[in-house]
């Protein structure tokens, strides 16, 4: 029944892109870096306070700075940033964004307390018990703030995103990995040999572990990527991500425990983590026909006119 040369809606995508572009890739990265750093520092400090307390006291203020940058991006990305607080008028656990907003808001309080008390301790006002209490209280909302992001980006109708069942698993796992790498850099910077040695081993284990959810995520996205990129492009990006995000950091960390190698491995890991997030966020925005703004509509119209010129029968029908 359907003529092959008809116009219409058959090959047009149905969903609309939400307009979450590069900001969200940065948001996902900073969210992971902030929550991961806090969680890695808190868990390590609680497990071995004698070893990790000095580095954790630097990690909490750093995590707070990263979180503030992340929150700034989240607010900036809203259509009406002055209405950010409207997110807090209801609590809807069924909405990943609502759950995430509440987790971030609650997490920011103990994190601020832990950061402030850590800085106060540096200038001689030591409230150790209060600081530890803030760290313990921050664990659950901190974990929630790390875990919601992947679910937010996979629970929707967007092409590619809706198939990413392992996105949450990857992002949360990657947050802890990035947090461990940041903590490793901090411990190397303050020349804390014991903490550096432990974190170096943990970093190697986490790098290998992180390859599992990453592989599962790429498997989820195979069909979406096949629609957008050639096989060669997929292999190239995949190899780049695996090399920069896993192999090189792994090699550098195993090679030497010095500051240079540790810095080098983190310098490779963080951009690779950003690229993974960016490639993912880009999926629904990449399909040429998915972007249904005015510019895309003009392109579609131009393409249709070209088709009609090449097909006199169709032109006759339209007349």
């Amino acid at each position: 029944m359907n003529a092959s040369n008809q116009s219409g809606y058959l090959n047009l995508p149905v969903t609309k892109v939400p307009g979450w572009y590069g900001t969200i890739a940065w948001d996902a990265l900073l969210n992971g870096m902030a929550t991961g750093l806090f969680l890695a520092a808190a868990v390590s400090e609680l497990a071995a306070p004698g070893v990790f307390t000095p580095v954790a006291k630097i990690a909490y203020p750093a995590a707070l700075a990263l979180l503030l940058a992340d929150l700034g991006l989240l607010v900036f990305d809203l259509g009406d940033p002055l209405r950010f607080h409207h997110m807090l008028r209801v609590f809807k656990p069924g909405s990943p964004m609502s759950l995430g907003t509440w987790c971030l808001t609650i997490f920011s309080l103990p994190l601020t307390a832990a950061a402030a008390l850590s800085l106060l301790a540096e200038i001689g006002f030591d409230f150790e018990r209060a600081r530890m209490l803030a760290v313990v209280v921050g664990l659950l909302p901190g974990f929630g703030a790390a875990a919601y992001k992947g679910v937010l980006l996979s629970t929707n109708a967007q092409p590619g995103w809706k198939d990413a069942r392992w996105l949450g698993g990857y992002l949360t796992n990657s947050a802890i990995l990035m947090g461990c790498s940041e903590l490793l850099v901090l411990s190397a910077l303050i020349k804390h040999a014991e903490a550096t040695a432990m974190l170096r081993t943990a970093f190697v284990v986490l790098l290998v572990l992180n390859a599992i959810p990453l592989g599962l995520l790429f498997r989820n996205l195979q069909r979406a990527h096949a629609r957008l990129y050639t096989r060669e492009q997929q292999w190239r990006v995949g190899a780049l991500i695996f090399a920069a995000g896993t192999l090189i950091p792994l090699g550098l960390t195993l090679l030497n425990g010095g500051l240079l190698c540790i810095f080098g491995s983190v310098i490779f890991l963080l951009p690779a983590s950003w690229v993974i997030r960016f490639v993912f966020v880009k999926i629904p925005h990449t399909t040429p026909l998915e972007v249904r703004g005015s510019a895309a509509a003009e392109q579609v119209a131009a393409a249709d006119v070209t088709t009609m010129r090449a097909n006199p029968v169709r032109m006759h029908q339209l007349r």
């Binding site: 259509g79 629970t155 986490l206």
Partner: protein, 308 residues
């Protein structure tokens, strides 16, 4: 032209309204902070209402589009040639809540070969598209501010004064209905003429439809009416007629705005098998939490092993 209108609209909306009480800057700021937390009493539930759109009688006159624009005071989108039949609206948007679609189904052979004995299968399909007012609406589930509600008529309604433009609803809608406006940054879509319904009137589009393609009323009555219409069409030699969205499927709830179609949904630009993304959410949370817990466990194991 459209941008001129947008800037004019913004100028007008920035003017001080005579009805606005005079407020100081602090009062304005406090009011802005506290206003969204003031919850009113919800109205008494009323019988669920919706649309039944019979596409077989639609003539593509676009009266529904015009009536919707006029009643809801939606600005013009300009006039663009889309190159897609008579469809110059192109899509539903923050300023277009009704969109008449045109599908031309003409076979090239029948146009040139009139001697054939086969009946010509040439036809126009038209559909007046709008929000489906889903019973379990993904946009409603996604909204983190509570701006999207199910009102007393069980229609999905966006409270524009609450929406903060996070776009979660845009990402969640499997029909591509909701759009964030460039003017104001908030999401907008069909309200099913909530204001008219409250005053006992039918929505503007249904009122304007000259062929009664758009039926409005209590959903139960509409479903009955729609089923009878399908049976009638089957009797009259249109066996392909069926209803889209009148009943729940395994992956999607029923819709309070449903359609009578005579071709596959994708031909009309509708998803063949709509899927509610929330069906995956629990599993996604489990994977997300387990991914994080596995990493923390690995970190702990290393710390405990190397501590001694």
């Amino acid at each position: 032209m459209a941008s001129d209108m947008v800037s004019r609209e913004m100028q007008l909306s920035a003017l001080v309204q005579i009805s606005d009480p005079p407020r100081g800057q602090l009062s304005e700021f406090v009011g802005r902070l506290t206003y969204p937390f003031q919850h009113g009493e919800p109205p008494e539930p009323r019988p669920a209402t919706g649309f039944f759109t019979d596409t077989t009688v639609c003539i593509g006159c676009k009266a529904c589009e015009v009536a919707c624009k006029q009643w809801n005071q939606l600005p013009s989108d300009g006039f663009n040639w889309s190159g897609n039949s008579y469809d110059n609206t192109a899509e539903l948007s923050a300023t277009t809540w009704r969109h008449v679609k045109f599908i031309e189904q003409f076979s090239a052979e029948s146009a040139s070969d009139l001697a054939t004995n086969e009946p010509a299968l040439n036809r126009w399909l038209m559909l007046s598209d709008h929000c489906k007012h889903c019973v379990a609406a993904p946009c409603h589930q996604a909204c983190p501010t509570g701006a999207i509600i199910q009102n007393e008529f069980e229609n999905i309604y966006i409270q524009a004064d609450i929406c903060n433009g996070c776009s979660c609803c845009v990402a969640a809608c499997p029909f591509g209905v909701i759009t964030r406006s460039e003017m104001g940054g908030h999401s907008h879509k069909c309200t099913l003429c909530y204001d008219r319904q409250r005053d006992g009137l039918e929505p503007a589009c249904a009122k304007a439809c000259p062929t009664q393609s758009i039926h409005f009323g209590p959903v139960d009555e509409l479903r009955e009416q729609a089923r009878k219409r399908v049976e009638e069409l089957h009797r009259r030699g249109v066996p392909q007629a069926y209803l889209y969205g009148d009943a729940p499927s395994e992956t999607y709830s029923e819709m309070h705005s449903f359609y009578l179609l005579v071709d596959r949904p994708s031909v009309y630009g509708l998803p063949d098998n709509p899927f509610n993304p929330w069906l995956h959410m629990l599993g996604d949370y489990v994977r997300s939490v387990s991914g994080g817990l596995a990493a923390i466990a690995a970190l702990l194991v290393v710390v405990f092993l190397l501590r001694s």
